[in-house]
């Protein structure tokens, strides 16, 4: 995935789309954004940096997981198997990007308890395990099965990418040098975050030059 920071306006559409797609309970944000401000009057401005799981090639979370619940799929997506995860939270310590969340409890958005919709929607989450962004693996799987191409067809693409109003996000196959995402990463000289750690993230940021 490539995120063009100049195109991000901080609308949090990705956060909302992720919540709608993955139905994460209150307090859990797989896709979020860091906001800050930079410069001094009169040249000050606000900036937004969308964050998510970087799906690293050398994922530290996969290395430290004692049960093998955190694992890498053949297509490079890092996922957590909730049936194997024991909630030791070692992966959360190891993740340099703060992308992982521990489900200590499922909380609803309303003080009167879970609504009927929430009860049904949150049933896909499990208490006591670690969860994180999956690149909407369910969409990709269904799309590929239907003969669609992730990053090209909307039905095989993560919902944060689909929803972005500034088209700040580009999704695709990084192993394919001719895919739009690979081409643009080269053209825009995009960089992953904390490249010095050697984790080789699959999420690249364009327009980030060491400081905002």
């Amino acid at each position: 995935m490539l995120i063009k920071l100049q195109r991000c306006v901080g609308c949090y559409g990705c956060t909302a789309a992720c919540k709608a797609e993955n139905k994460t309970p209150k307090g859990i944000f797989w896709a979020s954004a860091i906001e800050g401000e930079t410069g001094e009057y009169p040249n000050a401005r606000r900036y937004y940096v969308p964050t998510l799981c970087m799906h690293c090639e050398n994922a530290p979370c996969v290395d430290v997981c004692p049960t093998g619940a955190s694992h890498k799929r053949p297509d490079g997506i890092v996922v957590v198997d909730p049936d194997k995860c024991i909630g030791c939270r070692y992966c959360m310590q190891a993740c340099p990007y703060g992308a992982r969340h521990f489900m200590d409890a499922i909380r609803g958005y309303y003080p009167s308890g879970l609504t009927a919709w929430e009860t049904k929607a949150y049933s896909q989450h499990q208490v006591g395990v670690v969860e994180k962004c999956t690149f909407c693996v369910q969409r990709i799987e269904a799309g590929v099965k239907a003969g669609l191409k992730p990053g090209v067809d909307r039905d095989a693409t993560p919902s944060c990418v689909n929803t972005c109003i500034g088209r700040a996000r580009i999704f695709g196959d990084l192993d394919d040098p001719n895919s739009q995402v690979s081409q643009e990463i080269i053209k825009l000289r995009a960089m992953p975050l904390k490249p010095e750690l050697g984790t080789k993230p699959s999420v690249y940021y364009a327009g980030y030059k060491g400081e905002m």
Partner: protein, 346 residues
């Protein structure tokens, strides 16, 4: 203000501490056995404490899991320190249990079979060192947290483990001192003196290790610097400096050195109180060390992240500060309860 590491909390701190004390007590006892201490008590106490303490620690770790019943999968990934560590802990607990079972209770087979006992001790020693070092390596391999990602941490935890191991054996000996008489009682006192002397050296080494740890981490990048700041001038400073450096290291070192230099002049009862006091302080200090290092393990922020204040001293932090005077009172009370041995007239 820097937010603290909160992913792992008190249960993990207690686990690291108990695993350290258990392993340390075993190391001290087996070495005492090898060196042929006149009183077998020193060796027996440590061996009796080792496996149960590590087991309790492991149970705490188990309780900290989000899905405790999934622990059967824990040996699936040999690159994970938790997998390696759990295997070491398991073997150590088994060896420790065998050692207890055949030497202390219910069987006393190893009492006479010195050779077999020492072979078992040697094997257990390997895993005791493994357990103590593992608690540091567990944190040490986390690259995302610069304060932990250092080679000195396993060494520091090992030194602390052996030192708290000494403390637990000394405390155990002090409890038995009043129940023994004559030659046996003398032997207990002699072992205590010898252990306290060796421990003083270790406490000094630990003090230096803490100093070097902070000195080097303070120049290992901005995040590690923040961690050091938390410990020496931030939210954790009262607990760390007061609880570990002063009460947990300097005071016990002073007491033990004073005892060592004035060995002949001090009455046994007074020596006993001093040993117990320093032992309790050392044990509390060991726990404070684990908790401080855990809490100060600030994760490296993303380059453009704004730090927001999150933490202030919690109830448990105040509880640990308050616990020191209570522990002192406790030691005083116990020392009063120990019957003073009658003077033997030659």
């Amino acid at each position: 203000m820097t937010p603290l590491q909160t992913t792992w909390g008190w249960l993990i701190a207690w686990y690291l501490f108990l695993a350290g004390v258990g392993a340390g007590a075993y190391i001290v006892s087996v070495l005492a056995d090898f060196l042929g201490f006149k009183s077998k008590l020193a060796s027996k106490i440590g061996v009796a404490l080792a496996a149960p303490l590590v087991l309790v620690g492991t149970i705490l770790l188990f309780l900290d899991l989000g899905q405790p019943m999934g622990f059967v999968y824990i040996f699936s990934n040999p690159t994970s320190m938790i997998t390696i560590g759990s295997a070491i802990l398991l073997v150590f607990i088994i060896i420790g249990a065998v050692h207890i079972g055949f030497w202390i209770w219910p069987f006393k087979t190893l009492e006479k079979a010195t050779g077999a006992r020492r072979m078992l001790g040697l094997l257990g020693l390997v895993f005791a060192f493994g357990t103590a070092i593992y608690t540091g390596v567990l944190l040490g391999v986390v690259q995302a947290i610069p304060f932990w990602n250092t080679a000195i941490l396993p060494m520091l935890f090992l030194i602390s483990a052996i030192s708290t191991g000494f403390a637990s054996v000394i405390l155990g000996l002090a409890v038995y001192y009043g129940r023994r008489t004559g030659e046996e009682q003398k032997g207990v006192l002699e072992s205590m003196k010898a252990l306290a002397k060796a421990d003083a050296v270790l406490v000094g080494a630990e003090l230096l290790a803490v100093l070097f740890y902070l000195a080097i981490e303070s120049s290992s990048g901005p995040t590690a610097y923040k961690s050091v700041q938390l410990l020496v001038s931030g939210a954790l400073a009262p607990v760390f400096l007061g609880g570990l450096v002063v009460l947990g290291l300097i005071v016990p070192l002073a007491i033990e050195s004073f005892g060592a230099f004035n060995e002949g002049k001090l009455a046994p009862a007074r020596l006993m109180v001093m040993s117990m006091l320093s032992a309790v302080l050392l044990l509390a200090g060991g726990l404070v060390l684990r908790q401080s290092v855990l809490a100060a393990g600030v994760s490296e922020a993303l380059p453009f992240m704004i730090q927001t204040p999150v933490y202030s001293l919690g109830l448990l932090d105040y509880a640990i500060i308050a616990a020191f005077p209570i522990l002192l009172l406790l030691v005083y009370g116990v020392s009063k309860a120990i019957p003073t041995p009658k003077k033997v007239t030659a």
